[in-house]
């Protein structure tokens, strides 16, 4: 069993020798600010998860030296990108060293011939695309945290993109990357070899092994990304429906349209509309007959988008939808690129407003199962809201989940407001149980417990072995082989079991 000790002064001195004094932060503010992510957090136990120190490397070689030192000294290392994750990937459960990669934000090469851009992992997609616009190209990875998340974190979570139906998701858009292994070696991974090669049959597909590693298998230090032509035209259309069932059927018809320019289809349920009317100051109109909404968006050349838009309008109306108008359609769609500006308040069952944090529980669910899963998730949330008095159901979305073929399964999310100031040792287990029941429903309906957030923490993580089956044994063997001393983000994904550990992460 590996035990961790507080970081000694001699280790701090060695880190300063590797990075320089200004890149080793030991102050309280620097450490507390890198303790948590937007996912609900046991704030009553905040102090237990503060890292011992923070380092800000600039090069892969510096990262490698930091990891080698940590491996020799058996100190936990947790990589941190934008800190926008909706699970706990970047949270230092066992304290140790947080490696903040924000200074590794260079654009190293723009290759307009082979259509790639090579960057440091600390660059943000919005900032990257501001530069790429000069060349009339873009990197179309589009999470709800688009203005604030970083490329390294997108690889760490194997992210999902709002317009993945047209352009693919993070795993499709990252061609290859460089990663520092838990023992300090620097390697390149892709489909096979070749930094700019999209398809290879050489060896194992190592890019996919490390995609979604949540910091448990190393630290990404460089990535080569896909470039696509900057869209000439965007078209967004929102339709409303008198019932969830009508909207669900229309979602299926729109998603199966076969239009190559279709970025995605989004289904808002009745709970979501009630929340938007109540607390989000959204563009959704008020009449009671508006019970569910479906959003679509197209991107591409003018020659593609104009005829496709006519077809989307026809399918939307023929499948029972009523167009919501240009202002709602274009205005709300633009806000979808930046959903981290949600109101941070919710309601008690009395209607009283209280400060709440946003929690988004996600899963991958097949289209046929969406109505049943929706009913069960709301029932679970209602039961725990009544029991704890600190939860508020903010409704559900279902987004097309397939890359290039946006049908079949959906990123399914339930947003839950949580009054974190009221969290305690008494009600935290109820919250974890709520999460676990939601995840179990996804498995019961043949789904996956997460489409893009990851499932690293208690409430989700204990179901990873159930979902993965024999694959979890392979995960543990890989983890133990690559990280013999369990220094890389220990405590995540139940991978401590690979070392004979079986402790609960949060009490």
């Amino acid at each position: 069993m590996t035990t961790f000790v507080a970081i000694r002064d001699t280790v701090v001195d060695k880190l300063r020798a590797i990075l320089g004094d200004e890149s080793v932060l030991t102050g309280k503010a620097a450490r507390y600010n890198r303790t948590r992510v937007p996912a609900p957090f046991p704030v009553h136990r905040w102090a237990e998860y503060v890292p011992d120190l923070v380092v800000l490397p600039r090069t892969a070689e510096q990262v490698s030296e930091v990891v080698k030192l940590a491996n020799r000294e058996r100190i936990p290392v947790v990589p941190r990108a934008g800190g926008t994750g909706l699970n706990d990937g970047a949270l230092p459960l066992k304290r140790g060293i947080v490696v903040d990669i924000k200074r590794m934000n260079q654009i190293k090469e723009v290759d307009l011939v082979d259509r790639t851009v090579t960057v440091g992992p600390g660059i943000n997609m919005l900032k990257l695309n501001e530069e790429l616009r000069k060349h009339n190209v873009m990197f179309p990875d589009d999470p709800a945290s688009y203005p604030c998340s970083l490329v390294g974190g997108r690889i760490g979570t194997s992210g999902w993109s709002l317009i993945g139906g047209r352009y693919g998701h993070t795993r499709d858009l990252v061609i290859s990357f460089q990663i520092v292994l838990p023992t300090g070696e620097i390697i390149e991974v892709g489909d096979g070899g070749g930094r700019k090669i999209r398809k290879s049959s050489s060896g194992f597909q190592l890019k996919h092994l490390f995609m979604g590693h949540q910091g448990t298998l190393g630290i990404v230090t460089e990535a080569t990304l896909e470039l696509v032509p900057r869209p000439e035209m965007e078209f967004a259309a929102f339709f409303h429906y008198p019932s969830y069932t009508a909207a669900w059927e229309s979602t299926g018809a729109l998603a199966k349209s076969g239009l190559a320019s279709l970025g995605g289809v989004v289904l808002f349920d009745e709970y979501k509309l009630r929340y938007l009317r109540r607390d989000d100051e959204a563009y959704i109109p008020r009449p009671d007959h508006v019970r569910a909404v479906v959003a679509t968006a197209l991107y591409g050349t003018r020659d593609e988008v104009e005829p496709a838009a006519r077809r989307i309008m026809r399918i939307g109306r023929e499948s029972g939808g009523t167009y919501l108008g240009d202002e709602i359609s274009s205005g709300d769609w633009a806000s979808r690129h930046d959903r981290y500006a949600t109101p941070l308040h919710g309601r008690l069952d009395t209607g009283e407003v209280v400060p709440m944090s946003w929690h988004c529980e996600d899963a991958s669910i097949n289209y046929s199962q969406l109505p049943a899963v929706m009913e069960k998730w709301h029932a679970i949330t209602a039961r725990y809201a009544e029991k704890t008095g600190i939860l508020d159901d903010w409704g559900m979305f279902a987004y097309t989940n397939g890359a290039y073929k946006p049908w079949g399964d959906y990123l399914t999310e339930i947003d839950i407001g949580i009054w974190e100031q009221q969290l305690s040792d008494d009600n935290w287990p109820d919250w974890v149980a709520c999460k676990r029941e939601i995840a179990q429903v996804a498995l019961d309906h043949g789904g996956s417990i997460t489409a893009c957030h990851g499932a690293t923490r208690e409430g989700d993580a204990e179901l990873i072995p159930v979902e993965m089956g024999g694959g979890f044994d392979v995960m543990m063997k890989i983890k133990a082989a690559l990280d013999p001393n369990n220094i890389m983000n220990p405590g995540k994904y139940e991978l401590d079991r690979a070392y004979g550990l079986d402790e609960k992460v949060f009490r």
């Binding site: 035209m233 965007e234 109109p285 838009a309 633009a334 209607g351 209280v354």
Partner: protein, 86 residues
Amino acid sequence: MIGFRLSAQKPPEARRITDDVIQRFEHIYEVDPAKMTIIEQQDMPAWDTMRIVDSRWEHLAWMHDHWADTILTAEDLGEGGPHPDG
């Protein structure tokens, strides 16, 4: 800015939209202050509300421009149809 104007400071009287929501300005919905006793609603001058709304529209326009050269609407296609609130 040319001196003090009461209309720029004092928001209009609210009208009720639902049990939980009121409205003082067109298209701007507010939580009913009666439901805000644990956390009290902040008093805001009218000009500050409008500044925030205008900033929001600027942000959305910026985001559109960030993603594509041109925004096509259903109205451009001759398919806008009636607004559902109408």
